[in-house]
Symmetry: C2
Subunit: 344 residues, 2 copies
Amino acid sequence: MARVPRMPVTVREVARLAGVHPATVSRALNDATRDLVAPETARRVDEAVQRLGYRPNPLARGLRTRRSLSVGVVVPDLTNPLFPPIVRGIEDALDGAGYTALIVNTDGGVDREQRGIASILDRQADGLILAAATLTDAIVAELTDRQVPLVLVNRRVDDERVDAVTADDRLGIRLAVDHLHDLGHRHVGHVAGPSATSTGYTRLSAFRTATRRRGLVSHVVTAAAFTSAAGATAAATLLRHHPDLTAIVAGNDLIALGCLDALRERGLRCPEDVSVVGFNDMPFVDRIHPPLTTIHVPHYALGEHAAMLLLSRMRDGGRPARQVVVEVTLVVRGSTSAAPIAGP
Amino acid sequence: MARVPRMPVTVREVARLAGVHPATVSRALNDATRDLVAPETARRVDEAVQRLGYRPNPLARGLRTRRSLSVGVVVPDLTNPLFPPIVRGIEDALDGAGYTALIVNTDGGVDREQRGIASILDRQADGLILAAATLTDAIVAELTDRQVPLVLVNRRVDDERVDAVTADDRLGIRLAVDHLHDLGHRHVGHVAGPSATSTGYTRLSAFRTATRRRGLVSHVVTAAAFTSAAGATAAATLLRHHPDLTAIVAGNDLIALGCLDALRERGLRCPEDVSVVGFNDMPFVDRIHPPLTTIHVPHYALGEHAAMLLLSRMRDGGRPARQVVVEVTLVVRGSTSAAPIAGP
DNA sequence: TTGTACGCGTTATCAA
DNA sequence: TTGATAACGCGTACAA
């Protein structure tokens, strides 16, 4: 293994060893200017770099160029299993282009989000990927206003001029409702996610459309957050008001877990008494009891797309915005079954 | 909301507005030198900072001071639910001290790990937290050699001079074995994690000790990795060779999931035929089927401790190394029950 | 108590 | 094709 030297090596020392001027070293090492230098000189520089184990100082480079080859990734909470795959997709796609991801958690707080973004921008990040946007997001507006290269992932905002990568929420909900309809369910509930998020809002809207089209009786309660606790509370309300429901479409998998809790609480069995469909196909929902029927979202791909969109945006700040929608699929497992025979 | 200006503000502009020299601004803004400046002057500087929305440029600062107020966090894979809570603990503890975490995934590859660490060090990170160390880790040796402030979390290395925060692996295994013994199990297996990791090695060693002390018949197979797939393979081997086992202690929760798979594969029920105990109490293992009996590890606290250890290490590079061991507890759920009556 | 002057390591511009 | 020079924004001896 190459011995790593104690003291950082600078261009100057490389220049000395190669017998050239520091500026020439810089030119030889920079892809854009490499062909300005004589091949033989470049070779000598490369050799000196090798010998000394020179590594460019990103801080100095960033200070001079005002670019950092890094991008910020803002997520609500890494602890939510939804986000790590997205982040990995982003990282892997960025890595190919030489970029690094700076990850920040916001915990849903606007305050922490602003501080996090500021800190990222202070570090000269070249762009930003937001996984936490709400539909009318002042922060997003300000960032686009400031011309910061920006891509939303997982959620959209109400502004068509912003690049965004989302799952096909409408399709997912339609698949879920069709599945329940096919199983004979006629009274279907929806525990929606917060309506300020595009996922919460769009899925609710799609649920209304799909149930109407199928001629189903439907009821909706909105959860305060995309958490199992909030889901349980909302589901309890839903079940109390509408005991005739035989199936629930949850706003996402965590809410679905809350629904399962609420059912158990009321002494109802899933899927025998009430079927439940989630959304996302989070890791491990195939192993819970009962294994969750849900809408599979390719989160890693979502992240990859977002990174590629950002890379292209950073290359060309002027290109028209693109809204990428990735396909989703229904995964049938154990939490859905044929509607029970109607009671007395 | 305060309007964020388009162009970054520098000390120079703050100085102009405050009617002082840039150096004075710098002094007024730096805690260590703040009292060198007249209170009235400091006030004027603060006001100018406010008015202009000045934010120090971390790159320039880092270039000058050779410190960056950031630390690297190296994890095998953020997608493994084990690590996000650790990372969050680290971040939250660092945040209080003004530090930022740079997160890097290694995917278990030495190559990616080296590149990741190099990239972090290039950015002048002031310290490093490694969650992926193996017992005899060349990278760790080199880093300590280079005097890089370093803390290991989750795993240790065989070098007492390195700060480390780990769960009490021996205690955890003893609790698991005692629990099984109390339930009447007399033939107990262990699907160990890779023996090159301190967790794999220590838990295996503790398993041997605990079963011997309790007079249990014990068998061991080592899994190739801490994954459910590797766990399933190893557990299948174990069950094939030792069909008389009535309980398995798994090297961690993911391996435990693999054990459940292997049992199902052989047509055995858990816990009726074979009990299984995990290790870690990962998110959602309380919701799988059957709910996993496991050793609870406070991962968030693990991360917090690691960050605090690193902060202290960065303050005093010379202080003796500390090995922090955090308590663990047994969480009894549905995957363990009384040993079945011995067959014919 | 404040100002002067310089350098951290790099790259962009200009001149040769 | 290469060298000289300045500047990115900041902190810090040293001088005043």
